[in-house]
Every structure is written in structure tokens, then in C-alpha cells.
């Protein structure tokens, strides 16, 4: 399903809509360049799971941010990780858990990802505009 977002608030709201449909064990992979809205999307998803939007900041520094909620929420950001080091991270522990994983820069973990993923591609189409394509789930 394709969305045209015209602002950060819209991107977050699309994330919230996706978040409401997620179940335990789901893995959401976010694809898109720097500034395409991945963290905003993750924040929207988290807010649907009952996590304060203010608590979802960039995970680039720590790579994996764990949030306690009814369903554990793992916010993973592979920005700093090169594809041949991704196996060192122990990602499978999160991917095979009964929490929900959202992975930014998921392209860097292609070999590590499970078969069934929810794929979200974000594309820059103008200063405030983004095209968001979500596949692998009915919205």
C-alpha cells in the first residue's frame, strides 16, 4: 500500500496506523536514506504500542534500544553497521523473540532477516514530501 506523506506528523500517523496492526514476533524493516523519515515512522509505530513518543529517539548511537511495553518493542538502527559485521550483533535474539522489532537501515542485515517481514520503503520526493510503500501486511 502506498502513501504520500506531506509532513513529519503525517509520517508519524502512518506509522501509528501500521503499529496498531502489529502482533508479537513481527519484524518491520525500514528502508530509505538519511532524512527520509525512518525514526519518525518508528516513533509512530511505538506510540501505537503505548510507548511515549518522547521516549523514542534516534537509536543510531546505541544500535539497539529496548522499550518495555505490554509487547516488548525493539528499535534497531543499523546505520553504523556494515553488512559484514551485522552477524556480530546477535540480532536473532531480538528477531526470534516475542516482541516487535523495527529495523532502520534494514538493507544492511539482508542475510539475517526472517522470511516473513513487513517492508516499509520511504522515499524522498520533496523537501517535506515522502512516498511510503508498505508491503507484507494488510492495513
Amino acid at each position: 500500500m502506498k502513501f504520500q506523506s506531506k509532513s513529519e506528523a503525517e509520517t508519524e500517523s502512518i506509522g501509528r496506523r501500521l503499529g496498531k496492526k502489529l502482533k508479537r514476533g513481527d519484524v518491520v524493516c525500514l528502508y530509505g536514506g538519511l532524512g527520509s523519515g525512518k525514526t519518525t515512522m518508528a516513533r509512530g509505530i511505538a506510540s501505537a504500542l503505548g510507548i511515549s513518543e518522547r521516549d523514542v529517539t534516534s537509536a543510531s548511537f546505541t544500535v539497539i534500544a529496548e522499550h518495555d511495553a505490554d509487547i516488548p518493542f525493539y528499535h534497531i538502527d543499523l546505520y553504523r553497521i556494515s553488512p559484514h559485521n551485522v552477524s556480530e550483533l546477535g540480532l536473532h535474539e531480538y528477531l526470534e523473540s516475542d516482541g516487535i522489532c523495527v529495523i532502520e537501515w534494514a538493507g544492511r542485515a539482508e542475510g539475517e532477516l526472517p522470511e516473513r517481514i513487513i517492508r516499509v520503503s520511504l522515499r524522498y520526493t520533496g523537501e517535506d514530501c515522502r512516498e511510503i510503500d508498505i508491503t507484507g501486511i494488510e492495513l
Binding site: R54, S58, S60, T62, E88
Partner: protein, 334 residues
């Protein structure tokens, strides 16, 4: 009274012996930059493995340099969060074992509290003060009314300031960590050549550095021929202005005359200069740690640990590290 401090929250293994919370007797920091540089950032699994290798020699060296044995130490203070969980675990387990074996009290220090107390290793600011903690992982402003009395009054909603430096450095094709690189490049650029947006939210007091990063990216896309030095200078001017304005504004709002800066980004020359100038114009005083105490170190943990000791804030053998550990509690005063 001597406190042994241990800090392993991120990618530096550090141990220090500090007297009375203010005199550094020894402060050993083993950086892991050599491991993480080639990945352009910290790889958590590699960080915790290196902590495992380094914790014993680093603590031993801190004790040796201080000429102290376990019998000379009054307590062991350790960072228990926030940070990388695997890294924190190494320091916490080691500190617990050491305290148990030598029958010493154990003190758990919040890493951010440690940063605030880094200032006390060189000066004695009076309470209350406004504290800016700004690094690669954190950007928050606190009002500090006394020891243990912290209220967060502003924070970043997305990227930490140091992270924005790293990302912009990468966009400009330069190295990691981005802070010192951009700081140096900016000195040769014109900060007024490019007007980047200010990293504030339209509503409220929080920061947002993600939009600034995107603005730099857009600019580079549209103007690939522009001078990197000018981009660095324009970007830095935005970061520094926003941090400085907000800190001065909060000091005014709370009627506070003392300001402290800490965390890795507080080593930035432009931030130090501008904050000091702006504060002086308002009759406020800024306390800046020396650059080597801005970045992660165990001396600041021992300094905060001393105050925990005085207040009787001890931890037990059940102490566990926490990746997410906000400093201060209760609702924000608006």
C-alpha cells in the same frame, strides 16, 4: 575519603580514584576508538568484549597510580545506566564482585549524574544550577537544585547533538567521531554563508536535530559544489545557537545564575566560547570541565559516588544495569 569509580557504559573502559569527591588521584581511560573507528561508530557486541578484556588491567592501573590498596578505599562507585546493556553489565558485575570480596559499600551512579558532577572535579558551583549534558547519546537540560535533585526541562526528540555531528561529518565525507572534525573544519568556514534552520521544535522546549541533518543533506544535494567548510560552519552555528539560547532561556526562567556544561560535545570550542559570552552578558557564570573530563571517564562517577556515599544511597548485591535510566523523576514543571 577515597572512592574507586568504574565506568563502562559505552565504549571506554575507565577506573579512577577520587578523594572527597573533588580531587582526582588517578583516572585511567582505555579508549576503544581503534576498534570502532572502522565501523564509523560503536558496535555493542565488540564493545562489551573489549570491556571484559580491559576491566581488570584498567582498575589495577588506577589503583596502582593512586598508590592505593583495597583497604584504602571507602566505597566502589559504578555506572549502572543508561548505556549499552552489555557494556554496563561488565562494570556492574566487576564492581559488585570487588565490593563483595573486600567488604566495601557499593554505590550505583547514573551516568548522566556522573557527567553533571564532572564539573565538581575542578570547581564548586553553587546550587541551584542549569546543567546541559550533551554528547553522542544524550542532549538534555536539567535544573539541579541540590545533590540528587534533578528535573529535566528540555531534551532532544530525535538525534543527540553529537550524533548529528557524526552524521553531518559522514555526509561531508569526513571521519568519526564527527565533533572534533566538524569543529576544526568550521574554523575555516563562514558560519553566515548558509542559513540552516535552527534545531528547535515549534512548540515547547525540546530540541530536534534530525531536521537540521536533513536540511544539510538537502543543501548538499542542491549545491554539490559548495564549500564543505561553510557547510560545517553553518551547521555548527545552528547547533551552538540552539543549545546556547535554550540554556540561557532556562537559566532566566528558573532565575538561576550558574550553568554547567558536560558530555563529549561540551568539548566543542565554539559551544564553550558562545555559552561563556552569552552567559557573561547576562551576569551568569558558566562552569566548563577540561576537555578530557567532558568525555566519558570514571573520575566523574567517583565524584558523584562520593555524594551518594555521604547521602547513604547504597546499592546491594542485587544491583542490575539498566540501558534506559532517565535522570530525575516527576512531571516537568511547565
Amino acid at each position: 575519603m577515597l572512592i574507586l569509580g568504574i565506568e563502562t557504559s559505552c565504549d571506554d573502559t575507565s577506573a579512577a580514584v577520587v578523594e572527597d569527591g573533588c580531587r582526582i588521584i588517578s583516572n585511567v581511560v582505555s579508549s576503544q576508538d581503534d576498534i570502532h573507528n572502522r565501523y564509523g561508530g560503536i558496535v555493542p557486541e565488540l564493545a562489551s568484549r573489549r570491556h571484559m578484556e580491559m576491566i581488570v588491567p584498567v582498575v589495577r592501573e588506577a589503583m596502582d597510580r593512586a598508590g592505593a590498596g583495597p583497604g584504602d578505599i571507602s566505597a566502589v562507585a559504578v555506572t549502572h545506566g543508561p548505556g549499552l546493556i552489555g557494556s554496563l553489565l561488565v562494570g556492574v558485575c566487576f564492581a559488585k564482585s570487588l565490593a563483595f570480596v573486600h567488604d566495601l559499600p557499593l554505590v550505583a551512579v547514573n551516568h548522566l549524574e556522573g557527567h553533571i558532577y564532572s564539573v565538581f572535579l575542578e570547581a564548586a558551583p553553587e546550587f541551584p544550577f542549569i546543567a546541559l549534558v550533551v554528547s553522542g547519546g544524550h542532549t538534555s537540560i536539567y535544573i539541579v537544585k541540590g545533590f540528587g535533585m534533578y528535573t529535566e526541562v528540555a531534551r532532544t526528540r530525535d538525534d543527540a547533538a553529537g550524533e548529528a555531528y557524526d552524521k553531518v561529518s559522514k555526509l561531508l565525507g569526513s571521519g568519526y567521531p564527527g565533533g572534533p572534525v566538524i569543529d576544526k573544519m568550521a574554523r575555516r568556514g563562514n558560519p553566515e554563508a548558509i542559513a540552516f534552520p535552527r534545531a528547535k521544535l515549534k512548540k515547547g522546549r525540546d530540541f530536534s536535530f534530525s531536521g537540521l541533518k536533513t536540511a544539510v543533506l538537502n543543501y548538499i544535494r542542491k549545491h554539490p559544489e559548495s564549500r564543505k567548510e561553510d557547510i560545517a560552519a553553518g551547521f555548527q552555528a545552528s547547533v551552538v545557537e540552539v543549545l546556547t539560547d535554550r540554556v540561557i532561556e532556562m537559566a532566566g526562567l528558573y532565575g538561576v545564575n550558574n550553568i554547567t556544561l558536560s558530555g563529549g560535545v561540551s568539548a566543542n570550542s565554539s559551544l564553550r566560547r558562545r555559552m561563556t559570552e552569552r552567559a557573561a552578558a547576562k551576569g551568569m557564570r558558566v562552569y566548563l570541565p577540561s576537555p578530557h573530563l567532558c568525555t566519558d571517564n570514571a573520575a566523574m562517577i567517583a565524584a558523584a559516588g562520593y555524594r551518594c556515599f555521604i547521602e547513604g544511597r547504597f546499592a546491594g548485591p542485587a544491583l542490575n544495569p539498566k540501558a534506559c535510566l532517565p535522570l530525575g523523576s516527576g512531571p516537568r514543571p511547565d
